[in-house]
Homo-oligomer: 387 residues x 2
């Protein structure tokens, strides 16, 4: 701890609202690692859509009303000011009580969950660094030692590693495991060009399943390079059954991984109610987002006569994080990194993400502390934007 | 076959419509058992709600439009005239090729499914005797020998056995297995006084789970006698969360078994989003009916932030039928028999079922061929109605 400064640069979220609520400060107290924790000097933190949703307060609850944030426990865990940023890469610079000093110097990737308990196979109250506790849009972060996974031998750079963070990959993996996706199955993925979508494509291939992607225009080649067997441009579809049949060669869609919700749900369910007698398992849909709309009229006869199973997914389990970290270390998952921004320019990154230009790219934006920019950020700067 | 008459009495459904479409005939050709089948002389057949729904053509598909029936394969399996009646008890009077003549004389209960294949653990295209093939509202029925389970040593009468039929019990059991209901869990059951509901209550107890019932008024004592830990009169509820908390003593509702749909879904989901941090598994809802309405606005943020899992259920599997038959043989499941009607008076039974009086009773109506009435029907006749 001796050479760790007492204050640091960080982007503080002051309250719900637009990006003006994000204030860059250089006098934020550096955190200290508690028992069982490590202090990490941050080199790269991926930007996730969840940061924007939390900032804007878009998590609605009952009665379609909008509330400030989701809350699973007796009291809300989000308080202000809060440092956002879930997918953190960096190096251990100090350890708390009960953690070996051998960890110091180790490069790692954070499992972003604030787990409610020690259970390995279930995670019932998803909360995370950047929401219930401070995240990685800062120079330092204190996190549980067992959730900061050693990436010393990993083939990827820090910015690339951040792009492989758990916020997308663990959610994607848990969507697949919830729906019992297995080798040989054919999986339709909506919202395929986002962070979770590109993770889903790669994870389907790792599991031996064949992914078909639904995406906005212009991303076909990129998604195919990641493993999509074919890509459907959603803006060109009038009849989903025939569009999917055409794109897949008429295979049975065993399960749908959906991030769209809204008006996409019923067409996606209809795709799965075909060829019932030739199916091997019940039609399954996992959903982890609702970019096309938060409400859908569900017809129960469709659900129960066709024995459709629906799985709501947020984050995943400790065991799933461990498996993903193993795959990342082995180079089995490819980072999809679009570019980097310095931490002090997070506003520009948010505007870039929200702009029309975001439609044109695939992959993650990664935020790098200004003090680390030359080493970890500059090589991936976006020409004319962040460089 | 020598003493089997060439014609028989049967109730023929002539087409979709009201009960006038059900015509009693005594000159219907007696079926012959095909290879692997047995010919059964029917002594008792339970009435199920599905018969009414198929008659009225209430299975809607896409776009909320109403169609004549559900159809899972390339061509509809329901054709007219059709003999309805799914839960059949009787005695083997002849066998088809490949079936031992030792079966002759054996009393049995039918597993009502027309399975699409030999798979033991999945049943993807539910169809059944009384829908895709002729059922038990007749004096004779030909069925697969391996689906007519030996009930020689079962402690129940024929009418009681019919009331334990698979149409309700297998559906109920599959609702529980789909939702992974296990010992120690607390289960909320809507529509608890119907055939599937009373089966759910008993099956929860067999699995070691605690059932709480939601029902219409006046059925509390009957449902408690079957095993319900407490009963909520749905007509008296304004706030479901507090009503359930009061009725259960504030336990965590691990899963909901729903037969109501419509406006009941969101309150039932809300009951399961409480106490997330104390849960042991994801909140689960199985649905196998929609008596309160076929359409519900689903809020996807509720589904995915709370990680709710929904299971559409129709019928169950061969393995589940086998397990249920074992429990029935052992006397582990209690028949809930309200009363009997002669086959020729099926119209009266339908009117009785649909009338206000149906609100006052618990359990099954069982139909007995007129030629078997004195032995199998008369002991359970309803005073002033069917006797």
């Amino acid at each position: 701890m001796t050479d760790t400064p007492t204050t640091m640069a960080a982007m503080l979220l002051q309250g719900h609202g637009d990006i003006e609520q994000l204030i860059y400060r250089t006098d934020v107290p550096t955190p200290s690692p508690n028992t069982g924790e490590v202090l990490v000097k941050v080199s790269a933190t991926a930007k996730n859509n969840t940061d924007r949703k939390v900032r804007e307060g878009l998590y609605p609850t009952q009665d379609n009303s909008t509330v400030t944030s989701f809350q699973m426990t007796e009291s809300p865990t989000l308080s202000f000011p809060r440092i956002q940023g879930a997918d953190v890469v960096g190096r251990v610079v100090a350890v708390g009580k009960g953690v070996s000093t051998e960890r110091i110097g180790q490069r790692g990737l954070l499992d972003f969950n604030i787990y409610a308990d020690q259970r390995d196979d279930i995670n019932l109250t998803p909360d995370y660094f950047g929401h219930g506790r401070d995240g990685g849009f800062a120079e330092y972060i204190a996190v549980p030692a067992d959730q900061f996974y050693d990436m010393s031998d990993c083939p990827y750079s820090d910015a690339e590693l951040a792009a492989l963070g758990m916020c997308s990959y663990q959610t994607a993996y848990h969507m697949l495991t919830s729906a019992r996706v297995k080798a040989g199955e054919h999986i339709l993925i909506s919202g395929a060009s986002g962070g979770v979508g590109t993770a889903l494509i790669q994870l389907c291939r790792l599991l031996g399943a064949t992914p078909y992607a639904i995406s906005s225009p212009g991303k076909s080649e990129g998604l195919k390079a990641l493993g999509a067997a074919s890509v459907i441009d959603r803006t060109q579809v009038s009849d989903w059954r025939s569009a999917v049949a055409k794109a897949t060669g008429g295979v049975i869609i065993d399960a749908v991984m959906d991030l769209a919700g809204g008006s996409m749900i019923n067409p996606l369910l209809d795709v799965m109610t075909e060829h019932m007698s030739q199916r091997k398992d019940y039609p399954r849909l996992s959903i982890a987002g609702a970019s096309a709309g938060n409400v859908t009229d569900i017809l129960w006869t469709k659900i129960y006569l066709y024995q459709i199973q629906l799985f709501g997914v947020s984050h995943g389990t400790r065991a799933e994080a461990r498996q993903l970290m193993h795959w990342i270390r082995q180079g089995d998952l490819k980072p999809v990194l679009h570019g980097t921004f310095p931490l002090s320019e997070l506003h520009a990154a948010e505007r870039y993400f929200a702009s029309g230009r975001a439609q044109d790219y695939l992959g993650k934006l990664v935020i790098v502390p200004d003090s680390e920019w030359q080493q970890h950020g500059a090589p991936y700067a976006i020409q004319g934007v962040s460089a």
